[in-house]
């Protein structure tokens, strides 16, 4: 049922916390976890408040350039009712079919939902589909949860199409910097 080699974010956090605890003022505790534990290296990550919604995604099948693909979003919400508004966009050359770029789901009908996003891309690569989910509870309160999914079109060898940041420079001390142009006024 469990894969001992699979990483768990929480155990990752725990393992790191344990490492940190090596410096703590604790008298001789065991700091050795089981050898087959599900370990990793990340610290616990807080998340900003948002909608009571959990999202995962899957690609229905492999997609070739020029073909249409389907990204299925599995959405689990924890509301008694209200409306869930979903929208999908892409900035990286992937086209989302307009009819599937947005949807609304009645949250009074069950608490797990599926949403299919149809798309196509002219060339192979890894593209990102940005998703914005807004849950409007029965009392009218809105809360968002943003999400994104990477989809591969064509050969897996295609380079990832992640957008890169602004041009990077090195300053006189060898430190990497991103130069932002100032709006400057000079007065003698």
């Amino acid at each position: 049922m469990t894969d001992p080699h699979r990483a768990s974010p929480f155990l990752l956090a725990a393992a790191t916390a344990l490492a940190a605890a090596a410096c703590a003022d604790v008298e001789e505790p065991s700091k050795t976890a089981h050898s087959d534990e599900k370990t990793s290296v990340a610290h616990a990550q807080t998340v900003k408040p948002g909608a009571a919604v959990s999202i995962t995604h899957r690609l229905r099948s492999e997609v070739a350039p020029g073909e249409s693909g389907v990204l299925t979003l599995d959405i689990e919400e924890r509301y008694d009712g209200g409306l869930l508004s979903l929208s999908a966009t892409s900035k990286s050359g992937l086209e989302i079919f307009p009819t599937s770029a947005s949807a609304e789901i009645d949250m009074s009908i069950g608490d797990t939902h599926q949403w299919d996003v149809f798309f196509t891309a002219p060339s192979a690569g890894v593209y990102r589909i940005d998703v914005l989910v807004v849950a409007e509870a029965s009392d009218g309160m809105k809360a968002p949860r943003s999400y994104a999914a990477n989809v591969t079109v064509g050969s897996g060898a295609a380079a990832k199409a992640a957008q890169k940041g602004a041009a990077q420079s090195i300053d006189a001390d060898g430190e990497a910097i991103v130069v932002l142009p100032a709006e400057e006024t000079i007065e003698d």
Binding site: A52, K164, V178, A182, E184
Partner: protein, 547 residues
């Protein structure tokens, strides 16, 4: 980095000394290309202000791009660079964003503001905003290379918004400085509001990029999961979303200060939270509920603004907002973050209504978080521990604070919440912290998935353990009821420190023999399927024993 800055200051001073030493006694220091008048001084002062564009958020309609304000970039590092990029002089802007630098006269100089807050002294900090999609390069706002002239002059630099009417069509220079200024507000206001003198803030890095979006993945590709706080390679890090038309947070002060609140917990107090997604009405793990509620209360106290706003959406035109005092959410209790921030705000504020008859101010609320008795207490970090510490603060109105807690349906006593009667609709959640006794038989602990997974109420059970004498002990967690072939795990903590992990993949049993010094511990026990997305969840109970 701190040393780098001091080194640059020294380099600047040395350059000035060299400049003075090489002057002809008449004060001139001509550049090769532009001979100075004989009456020019050796050095001149370039002064001015560093500002950035801030877009105010609205309660319902996102950012208001028609009301952009130019704000002082406070406490940021400003440098004068020569034509080779070497630092001639360096300083930090004052609370009005003003700076003053000395440079050789008649020399090609540019002014540069780093997205960095730097202060030494009784309260100290070093905060830098970096581009995580660009090798963690630091953002710098750079002016033009111009002659310093023969007399003092003024150069004002503004970090522009980059908004071109319907999109960010130009460089978003303001963003790193807006984020930085929210953190400056948090640090300086915490120093002012708390009675703790001399706060030393450990180095903090802030990752912001226009590519940053809420997907879990590679941070160097902008996949930061959420605007959040964590440690990356041990370095405290706030990550901020910046993806246009989806969710940008650089101007959402409450969001940034909320995450700074988690940094405060982690670095200056205690952070027992397990993190992960949450909402205002969720029934959560008690540690998460406390941490998130505190972070929101911290934001509104620090910003003196009780309306939390998080903008998002196409054209940054929507808002998630709520008034921390009046927001009415479901599921009040010790497991709900809204109950925690409402409770803290009612204890703080001077507006008394209903069950709220208390005006305690921000000081005691913040002092409690920073007090060694809170950070070092042997109980887990929940609202119960916090309240027990707050009630011991000088001048605490015990009856009044208890009445506010009762209004939030929080009625447990002591730092463990003993006697609590609000189970949040999940009977296994009580008591909030169970007890296991060495050699005293087993205690039943359950892990349910009824309210969600990973960090929701019922996924985990907290257990207190008093170790009477230093020795080796065997802790055993065995499935007692529910579906078979499960994977129980547990973690052992002393105060806020993790001291042992029992996280094997053994089926239906987890056992750990370990040395434990005499003292009080708490244990986080759970079914792995209920905290892991890719493993089937379920409702399982276990017998937990220590021998």
């Amino acid at each position: 980095m701190l040393n780098d800055q001091f080194r640059k200051l020294l380099v600047g001073a040395a350059a000035l000394l060299f400049s003075a030493a090489c002057s002809d006694g008449g004060g001139s220091n001509p550049s090769p290309s532009s001979p100075a008048p004989t009456n020019a001084p050796a050095t001149v002062v370039i002064s001015g202000a560093i500002t950035y564009d801030r877009v105010p958020p609205t309660i319902a309609s996102g950012l208001n791009f028609s009301a952009v304000q130019q704000r002082a970039a406070r406490g940021v590092v400003v440098e004068a660079l020569d034509s080779s990029g070497a630092v001639i002089d360096s300083t930090v802007t004052n609370a009005s964003g003003q700076y003053s630098l000395s440079t050789p006269s008649q020399t090609q100089v540019r002014i540069q503001a780093r997205a960095q807050l730097l202060q030494s002294g009784s309260s100290s900090w070093n905060v830098t905003v970096r581009d995580n999609t660009n090798n963690n390069a630091v953002y710098v706002l750079r002016g033009t290379l111009e002659s310093s002239g023969a007399a003092n002059s003024t150069r004002n630099l503004n970090a522009g918004l980059g908004w071109t009417g319907a999109s960010y069509g130009a460089t978003r220079a303001a963003a790193p400085f807006a984020a930085l200024d929210s953190i400056y507000t948090a640090m300086t206001n915490l120093v002012a509001l708390s009675s703790v003198s001399g706060l030393t803030y450990p180095t903090l890095q802030v990752f912001w990029s226009p590519q940053n979006i809420a997907v879990q993945g590679n941070i160097s590709d902008g996949e930061i999961s959420s605007t959040s706080y964590t440690r990356i390679s041990g370095v405290p890090t706030i990550l901020i979303q910046g993806s246009e038309n989806n969710d940008t947070d650089e101007f959402d002060q409450h969001v940034i200060v909320h995450e700074f609140g988690h940094y405060l917990e982690d670095q200056l107090s205690r952070l027992d939270s397990i993190g992960g997604p949450h909402s205002l009405s969720d029934r959560l793990d008690a540690r998460l509920a406390f941490s998130e509620g505190f972070a929101t209360a911290f934001a509104v106290l620090i910003l003196s603004d009780q309306i939390y706003i998080d903008t998002f959406g196409p054209l940054q035109g929507q808002s998630f907002s709520f008034n921390v005092e009046t927001v009415n959410t479901a599921n009040r209790g010790w497991f709900n973050e809204s109950s925690v921030f409402r409770l803290m705000y009612d204890i703080f504020d001077s507006s008394n209504e209903g069950a709220d008859t208390v005006t305690f101010g921000a000081g005691p609320i913040l002092d409690t978080m920073l007090s060694p008795s809170f950070t070092g207490d042997v109980a887990p970090g929940t609202i119960f521990l916090y309240l027990s510490e707050l009630l011991s603060q000088p001048g605490a109105n015990v009856a009044g604070i208890n009445a506010i807690a009762a209004n939030e349906l929080i009625n447990g006593s002591n730092s463990y919440g003993d006697g609590e009667t609000n189970d949040g609709g999940l009977a296994i959640s009580l008591p909030p912290v169970k007890t296991v006794t060495v050699g005293g038989g087993s205690t039943v602990v359950c892990s349910f998935d009824d309210l969600g997974d990973f960090n929701k109420l019922g996924n985990r059970q907290l257990i207190r353990l008093t170790v009477p004498a230093s020795a080796n002990y065997t802790l055993t967690m065995t499935r007692a009821s529910g579906p078979a072939s499960r994977d129980p795990d547990f973690l052992i903590f002393q105060a806020s420190q993790l001291v042992a992990i029992a996280g094997s993949a053994s089926v239906d049993i987890e056992q750990l023999t370990t040395f434990l010094a005499a003292g009080v511990y708490w244990i986080d026990a759970y079914d792995f399927g209920n905290i892991d997305d890719s493993t089937p969840s379920g409702d399982v109970c276990y017998d937990f024993s220590v021998n």
